[in-house]
Structure formats: structure tokens, C-alpha cells
């Protein structure tokens, strides 16, 4: 089933969104919102690298406003999306645009985003695949494949023995079934990312327990 691009009727009928483009506006909000959720903070500095169609038509579709709105934590139906650049400016966020019209990104609607606050930084590459649906293909330099259309846990942790067992034990305690799991790391002993797609949407109690595991940097749950 996982080879299917679309696995829900609401990928086709939806999302409810502020126009004008589902791929270039709503999809862009969603990519930005993932950065917001994983980073867990409003950044001081953001750089957007836009490729192909995103690079060529971003102003016309409000892609710039949409990406920034997502970084600010807005959802696709938030009427403030229109004013996001101004809101970001008022919050003192420095925003840089790197427009790569002639690049050869694998998909036409690709954005790479890097955010910084003090010592903390992260990068993410998101692709808008149509109808407001997105895929995350890179996270902090790790190559990943996240469709974001099934309940997903993203856990950033120190690469030490036993971390996976601790997390899966907790999921098992709450009878949460794992559909797919992906583990990747920068270098042995450094930061690693665990991406776990689960069958249950009711994960909040498990997430709270997972957060207490030592050497775990952050946990995000997307339903």
C-alpha cells in the first residue's frame, strides 16, 4: 500500500485552505509547519532555497507568504497567511531567499529550508506533490521519505545503544502498532533521528512517556 501517493479521500477532497494554489500555497504552509513543529521554536533566521517551479512562480502563488506562515505555526486555512511576511518582520525574524530557477531538483516543487536560533539549527527539504500533499525528503542532512499522511513520530536523540528499544517498549505498553520505521544518523555516537509511522492516532500519553527518556532531544507527533 505504501507505493500509493494518496491514501485518503481527504488528499483529494481537501484541504480547506486559503488560496490560490494547493501545491504552491497550502503545500508550502505544510512544509513550513513541519519545520515549526520539529524546531519547536520561532527561529531568528530562516533561509529558503526554492527550486524549479517553486523558484519560478513563488511570488504569484504566495509561496513565500505560505512558507513563512508555516514557520510561524499557521495552518493552511489561517486568514493571516496573507500578512505572514509582515508578521515575521515584526517578530524580528531575518529571512533570506535563494532562488534556484535552473536547478535540477528531482521534483518541480521543492524547497530546502534552514532555520537558526542561537546555537540551534536544522534543515529540511520538502516537496509539494499536489493537492496540498507533501513529502519530506531530507531532515538535518539525513535522507528520509516522509509522506506525512499517516500518524508519524519524529524523534531526535543521541546515537547510543538501547534508544530504539526504549521507544518501542513504550509504544508496546500503549498497544500502538508500528507500521514502518526508519532510523538514521549523522555519525556514530552523534545525533540520530527515528521516524516511526504508527497505526494509532491516539499517541499523546505514549509521547509524554517517550519525552522522559534520557538522551532524547525532542519528540514530535504528527497525526
Amino acid at each position: 500500500m505504501n507505493h500509493l501517493k494518496f491514501q485518503s479521500v481527504f488528499d483529494i477532497i481537501g484541504p480547506v485552505m486559503i488560496g490560490p494554489s494547493s501545491s504552491h500555497t497550502a503545500g508550502a504552509v505544510r512544509i513550513g509547519k513541519i519545520v515549526n513543529s520539529i524546531f519547536g521554536d520561532i527561529p531568528e533566521e530562516v533561509t529558503f532555497h526554492l527550486f524549479n517551479s517553486f523558484a519560478k512562480t513563488y511570488q504569484g502563488h504566495g509561496t513565500d507568504k505560505a512558507l513563512v506562515a508555516g514557520i510561524l505555526g499557521m495552518d493552511t486555512d489561517n486568514p493571516d497567511i496573507k500578512d505572514s511576511l509582515e508578521i515575521a518582520h515584526q517578530k524580528g525574524i531575518r529571512i533570506y531567499w535563494d532562488i534556484l530557477k535552473d536547478s535540477n531538483a528531482p521534483h518541480p516543487n521543492t524547497a530546502k529550508i534552514t532555520v537558526k536560533k542561537g546555537q540551534k539549527s536544522m534543515s529540511i527539504t520538502g516537496v509539494s506533490i499536489g493537492g496540498g500533499n507533501i513529502e519530506v525528503t531530507e531532515l538535518n542532512g539525513f535522507s528520509v521519505s516522509l509522506k506525512m499522511n499517516t500518524p508519524t513520530l519524529i524523534i531526535v536523540h543521541q546515537d547510543i545503544p538501547g534508544m530504539i528499544a526504549k521507544v518501542t517498549d513504550i509504544l508496546s505498553d500503549y498497544h500502538i502498532n508500528i507500521a514502518q520505521m526508519n532510523v538514521t544518523r549523522e555519525r556514530a555516537g552523534e545525533k540520530a533521528i527515528m521516524i516511526i509511522e504508527v497505526d494509532s492516532r491516539d499517541c499523546q500519553d505514549a509521547v509524554n512517556r517517550i519525552k522522559e527518556i534520557p538522551h532524547l532531544h525532542n519528540v514530535n507527533f504528527f497525526d
Binding site: 500500500m1 500509493l4 501517493k5 494518496f6 491514501q7 485518503s8 479521500v9 481527504f10 488528499d11 483529494i12 477532497i13 481537501g14 484541504p15 480547506v16 485552505m17 486559503i18 488560496g19 490560490p20 494554489s21 494547493s22 501545491s23 500555497t25 497550502a26 524549479n52 517551479s53 519560478k56 512562480t57 511570488q59 504569484g60 502563488h61 504566495g62 486555512d77 486568514p79 497567511i81 496573507k82 521534483h107 518541480p108 516543487n109 506533490i129 499536489g130 493537492g131 496540498g132 499517516t150 500518524p151 497505526d199 494509532s200 492516532r201
Partner: protein
Amino acid sequence: MFYTIKELVEQADSRFDGNIAELMIETEIELTGRSREEILYIMSRNLEVMKASVVNGLTESKSISGLTGGDAVKMDQYLKSGKTLSDKTVLTAVRNAMAVNELNAKMGLVCATPTAGSAGCLPAVLSTAIDKLHLSEKEQVDFLFTAGAFGLVIGNNASISGAEGGCQAEVGSASAMGAAALVKAAGGTAFEASQAVAFVIKNLLGLICDPVAGLVEVPCVKRNALGASFALVAADMALAGISSQIPVDEVIDAMYQVGASLPTAFRETAEGGLAATPTGRRLSQEIFGH
């Protein structure tokens, strides 16, 4: 789960007495683990946004670029004159589609069906069907599940993105979904609904995505208007018992092949087609100064 239209029709017939909406709801429960209540709730909310967008879009105000806005009102006045050539049902759908896409261009609230650029077709034919066929609230929600079922197969076997497959993937898909849902709403069979999908896609095969200045305005608003009219006509053709010589799944595959062969200039980059005409370039220059 159904992977092809053939499977969709077979499963609807064998398991749900031809009820595609019910097949889609059951499949959604299987695929996402959401409860039936939650699924119905989300769809009802989408329905409300769609119906509101038809009403809210009917204003004379222009988009920020000034390229679109006010055409739905012109069609509304023309309809009221009573002197139209086409049937009132068709032109009401045309008006409604323009209203929604004009609203979308103004950064208004719409429901992407399947995309925002093609968000006019489905609410347009749905609102027309509500009046014409006196659809109950449940039948309206079913209309959307039926449309979504066909859209899922199209999206998974071809594309619903203009950047990937051109406008055939957006207005083509939207109009086809609307046509199929209309056939079911009017009492047609699942097979007849599938034929309406084939008629629409065959006629829009190869339609490029060439937005002037990269904006979802020209020609999107008018393509949604005509896409809505196609949905109505294709539904009538299917209800008349006409069928497609090329099986609908092969039509969808052809749409994928054609989309994959389109040069990038014709896939939402605003570098070809109408966007590259002298007037298209001038408008872009006036709006963005480059």
C-alpha cells in the same frame, strides 16, 4: 482498497450494491484508522466550505493582481436576463465555478478538489446538482465521497498536480470527478459513472498548465468554468448509455504518459502557452516588473 477504476466499480457493485460513496467510506476507515463519525464530520465540514465559497465568490471585487474578478457576477446577470443559449443548469455551474476560482485568486477560503487551481469545478457541479436533483445533506456528502474515490485512482495512477501533469491533471481530474459524482447522484450505475470520467479526461487530454505571470487566475478561472460544463455534459452522455471505446483505466494511463512527456514549459512554470504570449508576458511585466 481499489487501485484501478475497474476494481472500484467491481468492489462497489459486489460489496455495496453500486454505492461508491459507501465503498470510499469503508476504504477510508481501513486505510486511515479514522472512525466513520470522524470521516463523515471532516467531509461535512469540507462540504460547508465548498458551498460557502460558491456564495462568497459571487462579488465584483478584483484579485490583488487585477487579472480576475467580476466574471461570475457578469454570468449571474446574464442568467437573470433569461436570454441564454445554453441551458440554465449548465450556465449556473459555469457561474459557480468562476465564483470559487475568483475567490481563490483573492486568497479566500476554498476546499482544494483536488487542487486549489481546480477548486471551482466540483462545488460548481455539486451546487447545481443540489438544486436540480434536490439532494439531501447525506446525498451531498455522498457526492463528495464518490468524487473523491475516482480522484484517488486518478491521483495514484496519473497525477493531480499541474507541475507534474499539466492542467489535464487538475481541471481534467476535477471535471472528471464531478461528472462521475453527478452520474451517481442522478441514479446512474457505478459503471456509467466510470464512463463519464473517461469522456472528460479524453477531451482534456494534453491540456497544459500555463498560468499567466504564474498566478492561479488566467486561464484557470475560465478553465474551471468550462470544466464544470464538461462535467454536466459528460454525465448526460454516460446516463444516455454511451460508453468509451478505450477503457477508462487506459485513458488515465494515457493521461499519465502525456503528462510525463510534457516539456516543463507547460507544467506550471509560466514559461509556455498563454503565459508566453506577448500579452501574457506584458501582464507579467506589469504585475511583477520583471
